[in-house]
Symmetry: C2
Subunit: 181 residues, 2 copies
């Protein structure tokens, strides 16, 4: 489950919070018992890319938990002050050191169970120079028949890769919206 | 600007926080001076719909700040446990009491300045029954030439309406991704 009900103290004054339904609301929110501050908890965006070079796609072997040692597309939590595209590009540089040009928003995948939305862009690699960051053990290019399908870190990565190869085959890249159960 | 640097106390233990760059990170995060908990602050999704009935679009006159008295499409903050579509549908019911069928993801608009992403679905209304909730003064249908362009609450609403009427004229609805400066 997503990490809700974790707010035990008020961010403004430090007093204890209680989960209550505020006036004009219909959900319980962590509410400060001293100053009344209401603390909302909302879904997070995970933003990334499908970097490709010819008929190959770039994957990164995770060096951090969760799913350490499994393969992923470069992706991470969107930060304040950036767009989805800027976040996706930043993660591609940080995790793989790849130089890419973002092409289009490609998948929007709801993972409601963990309170996340995963958004991936297609990204054309400018060259094959890679410089994986500390979160990545190894970054390398895979042809479709080389993809380690049974060693992928996340279902959103699997589904994004499946759409990528299907769309490439039919010669047209769409925007794919889906829910991950 | 987006509301960052507002976390003054730790949500876990209530002690003071300080903004510091954690190990293996490159941004300042509110970090507890007692227990070390790191508090991340990330963008929020605002999800809504363009409800239409024949050649008319449904707008709501806001009964809450900000922009009280101005017109908006039904939209609000995405909640934990729901998908983008579920949130968009929920807001349409809460703010307008409209019965709709969601058709497709239509706009994805980055508002990086305030740390938000606005996502709108097109939505076919089942009927013209409306039952505005407490956040709405009035809900009504507008033909294109009746839209109160100078009394719209948000630029994302304006841009979504502009795309809607343009796409309707060309007879094809796409997915529009843009940055709002």
């Amino acid at each position: 489950m997503f990490a809700t009900r974790r707010i035990q103290h008020c961010r403004v004054c430090g007093a204890r919070t209680e989960y209550r339904v505020p006036p004009d609301d219909n959900r319980e929110r962590a509410t400060c018992t001293a100053c009344g501050e209401i603390h909302y908890e909302n879904p997070l965006n995970v933003v990334g890319t499908v970097p490709f070079w010819g008929d190959q796609v770039l994957l990164c072997k995770r060096n951090i938990e969760p799913r350490r040692g499994l393969w992923t597309l470069p992706a991470g939590f969107m930060e304040l002050g950036e767009s989805v595209a800027e976040g996706a590009l930043r993660e591609t540089v940080e995790e793989a050191g790849a130089q890419v040009e973002l092409l289009q928003l490609f998948t929007v995948l709801n993972v409601a169970r963990v309170g996340q939305v995963h958004l991936f862009y297609t990204a054309r690699m400018h060259n094959t120079t890679l410089a994986p960051g500390p979160e990545t053990m190894e970054a390398r290019l895979f042809r479709q028949d080389e993809i380690p399908w049974d060693q992928l870190a996340f279902r959103t990565v699997r589904q994004t890769l499946e759409h990528f190869f299907a769309d490439r085959q039919r010669g047209h890249f769409g925007v794919h919206v889906a829910d991950i159960a």
